[in-house]
């Protein structure tokens, strides 16, 4: 019976296992043969693929939109100048939904399906923390443009690097002296109740105490909250300064409700621009911010004394003098963070060229090349300003801007130095194995 079946199949399909294997073998041989492989004759012309883990949807969407625009602009600039080691750069984008679980899946997809050389770009700390283990297991470099202390803390792995943007610990430390000196010493913190907000709480508190100030109250707000008025009574009457940092779609509501609650008679306000990123300063209810101060990684509004390379960067990124899209004045950028994409891609280029990167086998060498970096001069590759990279903690240190709201615009009033934010490293990635 079984014999009959076998012969039937043979007759019907005309394809035996032996002939199928033969065919497959021949095809494999053809593919492996020199001259058949794409770019086989000159491997150097094959594009360098970079996987961009992008917050296209979810609560990080506004950042994702602008991270994508800046990434596209930076890649174009690199390609126009001859690419990396003479090879063009190709950006492959996957949406992570601003979701840690999807973030890890996206890293796997990049490594196994798109076969990219490295993964890059993500911002939200929970996505970085969720994705970094996958990058470590797959041994694929993971260049994040995030902000939390997660990378610098040493809790990620050797493949996870943050060379293009400063971390919260350094930002909070560099703000504290200015706040204590100019706004007041009794500070109430209002922050999102998860890792990013906790970094602000944990690092600003000792920093302001060093300046002789104190944190009089801490108001953590759950990340899913959409209304904030109910939290404001927790702010003590004797507060000099409210230090606020909120992220996600509810930021505008937060600032508006704070305005309704305090009016013009409240404490001084010092906000991290995250509370206003991608929000039009002309939005109704924001008038009360007039005179208050903000931290900005890079100024949103064009400043009168900005260098030519900043002007060039802004043009390439497609933002006008008000920091909005040149195509739509209502489409406000995430200027204080998105420069990190531009700078990180330039660092990727520099690292690949330093180790003469050929392909995935050189991934470890590429990480080592980045670790070996120290000073980065301000200029077309680093428009935000001069930076110092610490290879041990895979974290960069830089200058920050403090801006004041004047006539509905942000005007830089102070620029901190790299030393203001510098701190002793608590880890050493270079001692970890690949």
């Amino acid at each position: 019976m079984s014999e009959n079946r076998k012969s039937l199949i043979k007759l019907n399909s005309g394809l035996t296992r032996r002939s199928a294997l033969k065919g497959l073998g021949a095809a494999a041989g053809l593919v492996a043969a020199p001259g058949f492989v794409r770019y086989g004759q000159a491997q150097s012309s094959e594009p360098i693929k970079i996987g961009f883990q992008c917050h296209r949807t979810g609560i990080g969407a506004a950042y994702g939109r602008w991270y994508e625009r800046v990434t596209t602009a930076a890649a174009k600039r690199i390609n126009d100048a001859g690419g990396i080691n003479g090879r063009p750069l190709e950006i492959v984008i996957e949406d992570d939904g601003t979701d840690p679980k999807r973030g890890a899946e996206v890293v796997e997809k990049f490594a196994n399906q798109h076969k990219v050389n490295l993964v890059y770009g993500t911002l939200f700390s929970h996505v970085v923390v969720g994705s970094a283990p996958a990058a470590g297991e797959l041994k694929i470099p993971y260049y994040v443009v995030s902000e939390g202390y997660h990378v610098a803390s040493g809790k990620m792995n050797r493949y996870c690097v943050q060379p293009g943007i400063t971390d919260v610990k350094a930002q909070a430390r560099s703000m504290a002296p200015w706040i204590a000196g100019n706004l007041g010493k009794k500070v109430t913190l209002v922050y999102p109740d998860y890792a990013f907000g906790h970094d602000h709480r944990d690092f600003f508190t000792p920093a302001i105490e060093e300046q002789g100030g104190q944190v009089v109250a801490k108001v953590p707000i759950p990340p899913t909250e959409t209304s904030f008025t109910r939290y404001f009574p927790q702010i003590p009457r004797d507060t000099d300064v409210i230090y606020h940092v909120m992220v996600g779609p509810a930021v505008l509501t937060f600032v508006k409700e704070m305005g309704e609650f305090f009016g013009s008679g409240g404490p001084q306000l010092f906000g991290f621009i995250d509370s206003l990123e991608a929000v039009d300063m002309g939005s109704p209810g924001l008038e009360f911010l007039e005179g208050s101060h903000f931290w900005e990684g890079m100024p949103r509004y064009a400043q009168p004394d900005q260098p030519d390379y900043v002007t060039a960067y802004r043009e390439a990124a497609g933002i006008d003098d008000n920091g909005a899209s040149v195509n739509d004045a209502k489409d406000v950028s995430t200027a204080a963070h998105m420069f990190g994409c531009w700078e990180t891609l330039n660092i990727v280029k520099a690292s690949m060229e330093a180790c003469d990167y050929k392909g995935p086998d050189d991934r470890a060498a590429m990480i080592e090349a980045t670790e070996a970096m120290t000073e980065m001069e301000a200029g077309p590759d680093h428009p935000q300003g001069k930076k110092l990279f610490n290879g041990k903690i895979h974290q960069v240190f830089g200058e920050q801007s403090i801006s004041q709201v004047k006539d509905g615009k942000l005007e830089v009033v102070h620029r901190t130095s790299i030393e203001d934010g510098a701190y002793e490293p608590e880890a050493d990635y270079t001692a970890m194995s690949f």
């Binding site: 949807t57 994702g64 759950p222 959409t226 109910r230 009574p233 779609p249 509501t253 309704e260 939005s283």
Partner: protein, 293 residues
């Protein structure tokens, strides 16, 4: 701040929540009461109302009140029309079988959400309030618009009550709710009544959404929270009971405002869920619901 002002603020915030919640829950309760359909997509009709409100309001220049008022009329009508079509195309063909309609409305939820993401995008966008007036109380300031939301919501509730109890439309709806077969035998077009009720329910959610966008913002994921809370309200109040829905909404809204201000928002949600469990154990038909026949 002393206890008094604290309590005042918590109460105000709680009342705003209650006002909006009662409109959303009323829609859900009507649909279940008359049609016996658990509309899981109700939160998405609410979201759709907010997104359309942004779209309509952004087309009008001049005083923000113009755009807002047009949105307040247009957005619920469009949402109701969409719900009407969805009812005719999907729910009526499933013969309103409870299991089938739950699955169908879950599907509807995802379809509406993804369409909003595709056409509106992932951003949160504000709608300007029709007026800006900040009331300065001795201890804090409060938005006059938020108080107006409470007022408007009360008017809407009264209007719905009037329609349900004093008009022929209401009579027909109640007859359908009471006994579908007998109503049909008396010549009531049950199918059309159902579609109308479904549209009305979605429209009420959309009205709530238009009222809320100047306070919060329109976002494609905003449908989750009110859905959960309005289910809680409907279960506590009793399905299909207008009185129960309003009372439960005020109860949940106030407890949410007060507990989350004095203790924590998580505790407020926990207590609301606990209340649902207690109601289901001791009075499964809800505070004002009629026992199952």
């Amino acid at each position: 701040m002393a206890f008094g002002p604290y309590f005042l603020l918590a109460t105000l915030e709680g009342l705003v929540t209650a006002a909006v919640l009662s409109l959303i829950a009323l829609g859900l309760s009507l649909v279940f009461g008359v049609m016996r359909v658990v509309n899981v997509a109700h939160g998405e009709f609410y979201m759709l109302g907010a997104v359309l409100a942004w779209w309509v309001a952004s087309m009008f220049g001049g005083h923000p009140a113009i755009g807002f008022m047009v949105a307040l009329v247009l957005s619920p009508l469009v949402v109701a029309a969409i719900a009407f079509v969805a009812e005719r195309l999907v729910l009526s063909r499933l013969k309103y079988e409870p299991e089938a309609t739950i699955v169908a409305t879950i599907g509807l939820l995802y379809i509406i959400q993804q369409l909003a993401l595709s056409f509106y995008g992932p951003e949160a966008r504000p709608v300007e309030a029709p007026f800006h007036y900040r009331m300065q109380l001795p201890w804090f300031g409060y938005s006059a618009y938020k108080l107006a939301v409470i007022g408007f919501s009360i008017i809407m509730m009264l209007a719905t009550w009037f329609v349900l109890t004093r008009t022929k439309i209401g009579l027909v709806m109640r007859a359908t709710q009471f006994d579908r077969e007998t109503a049909q035998a008396f010549g009531i077009p049950v199918g059309r009544v159902y579609a109308g009720v479904f549209a009305l329910g979605a429209g009420l959610a959309a009205v709530a959404a238009v009222l809320i966008v100047p306070i919060q913002q329109a976002h494609y994921l905003m449908g989750h929270d009110p859905l959960l809370l309005s289910f809680i309200v409907v279960i506590i109040g009793g399905l299909g009971s207008l009185r129960g829905t309003v009372l439960a909404a005020v109860l949940i809204g106030l407890s949410d405002g007060i507990i989350s201000m004095f203790f924590s928002p998580t505790l407020a949600k926990m207590l609301a869920t606990l209340a649902v469990a207690m109601i289901l154990v001791f009075r499964p038909q809800g505070l004002f619901g009629a026992a199952a026949r």
